[in-house]
Symmetry: C2
Subunit: 325 residues, 2 copies
């Protein structure tokens, strides 16, 4: 089968289409005839060789497609249209998916729309509700509002918690899009000090919850934006990992709850439980379009290098998709 | 009435006994004829003028004594022996206590024993269970095992969660005492690398929960001692507040849950709720001596300077008490 592998750790030019053996499935697994894969930042990290948790030589952690074969103990039928997270191997004609992570694609959605759901909506759902414990009518600060997780989080925070959503992005195009998804306050971080705008928008109280994809470069500003007893979920490091000169008293005085998290390296059982909860609570909202997957652009399989460069350019609003079949 | 005030922000020599007006009570408050007050680190911080949250010129955040007068809406009788947290003003012949923080002193305990309970047992109870969410049979690392909060936390963790308790202290005398309270692994941090001992004692898994009174100087070692998905409660800065460097990726990769906390500046309602939960669940265990207050030394009212210096010497095991009457 055709698959995309990394020649040498490095840039997008290292991505090559190679013939690879069609994978075998074990009990509890599905063989998926992949129709679309999504590009994720973790793929870029893997490509650069910085991360070792995926031992699969083929990149890609989420796919949509049609069930081709089913392992023992699964109760999903061949021919079913599914989407879900995989343990690597997504940029390929066939991929192995643990059956308890497979989600049936809502009828009104295409394969490209389906594959735009798992990683970002599960991450946003987990971060807002499982980790962030967002309560009704609380205020949440969602950075990178135009990103895949950002666009998912804005919609989920509005639909499930009627939250007061404050979001940041770097262009008026992205901010307008965030507003169209329901964000209440949209801050251009290139033109305004977001922490001052957050305090203005919250009557100097700060926010109950921060979804932080940025890390080091926003550290002080996030701390200033957070309410006393606020929760702060660190799920990305677009602004760097290295922090200098931290005063721990500031964390104590504000009684900050800081949680670091990564979704991809979590256990199969965790992902199955998260998937189950998401399917039960959130997936029905896609049926009647109260929530929608957000696609920036669809690339062909052969354009994978361009697709990676597009993500590295940070211009996308929503997901970047690779059409496989 | 006699009371202890701070002449100028500075050392223990600034503590002076002065005549001060007997305080008035409002609805919901009790006037306490103080029999004993406890020395807390927050008193030293206040004395040094580093902290502004207590506007009471008289030091002291916990007392025991006899109810002298009761404000409207309280249902506790004059003459009752009580212990509890106060909003400053504890080092005095009379102090004002919100009635919903007053705990009746168990019959078998003296005023000196009673006053050794509120701050450290409420802090340990809050940190282990409300913030740390300690579950049955989990492993907890309790630093400063010989301190007031340490001795309280060891007992509560064993009694309520049958936890595997690992504790650190700086002398064999303190470590032996921790063992007598039920600690399972006792590490002399002056002689051993505690993080290596923690990993040895946990089969290289690390602990589920850390009670961190130390801060900066233990940062890296605490991170190394924590299990993936572990909880880390920062409640003191005996080892400094200033961290030179942090790599946020380490917090994400380990999925650390870090909570900063301080008890004293929390709201009256929070303290009332915490007190209520503690009285309901933990106080009965003092009646039959399954849990005991730990007193290091009792000083007379006139010896307050010595009492502060004694705490600053870090030699105490358990609480340092000021006898008031």
């Amino acid at each position: 089968m055709k698959a995309i592998v990394v020649e040498q750790p490095g840039g997008a030019e290292q991505l090559q289409i190679k013939e690879q053996p069609k994978p075998d499935i074990k009990a509890g697994e599905l063989l998926i005839n992949v129709k679309a894969a999504a590009i994720n930042r973790t793929d870029i990290v893997s490509r650069e060789g910085k991360s070792g948790y995926l031992d699969n030589p083929i990149l890609g952690v989420e796919v949509s497609g049609v069930v081709e074969e089913t392992g023992q103990g699964t109760n999903i039928k061949p021919g079913t249209r599914v989407m879900g997270l995989v343990n690597g191997g997504g940029y390929a004609e066939y991929a192995v998916m643990p059956a308890d992570r497979a989600m049936i694609i809502p009828e009104n959605l295409s394969f490209e729309e389906g594959v735009a759901i798992p990683e970002v909506f599960l991450t946003a759902f987990q971060t807002l509700f499982w980790l962030g414990e967002l309560q009704s009518n609380e205020t949440v600060l969602i950075h990178a509002g135009g990103s895949g997780v950002g666009t998912a989080a804005i919609q989920l925070a509005k639909q499930f918690a009627n939250a007061n959503v404050i979001t940041t992005a770097g262009s008026s195009k992205k901010l307008n899009y965030c507003r169209s998804l329901g964000a209440d306050h949209c801050i251009n971080y290139k033109e305004q000090s977001f922490e001052k705008e957050v305090l203005k928008a919250t009557n100097d109280q700060g926010v109950d919850l921060i979804l932080d994809f940025i890390g080091a470069s926003y550290w002080k500003k996030n701390l200033a934006s957070l309410k006393i007893d606020g929760r702060w979920i660190l799920i990305g490091l677009l602004g760097g990992a290295q922090l200098e000169k931290i005063n721990l008293m500031e964390l104590m005085a504000k009684r900050v709850q800081l949680k670091g998290t990564l979704l991809t390296p979590r256990s199969d059982q965790y992902k199955a439980n998260l998937t189950h909860d998401f399917v039960h609570k959130a997936l029905p909202l896609f049926d009647n379009k109260e929530i929608k997957p957000v696609i920036d652009r669809v690339f062909s399989f052969e354009e994978v290098q361009k697709a990676h460069k597009h993500m590295e350019g940070n211009k996308n609003i929503g997901k970047i998709i690779l059409k496989v079949d």
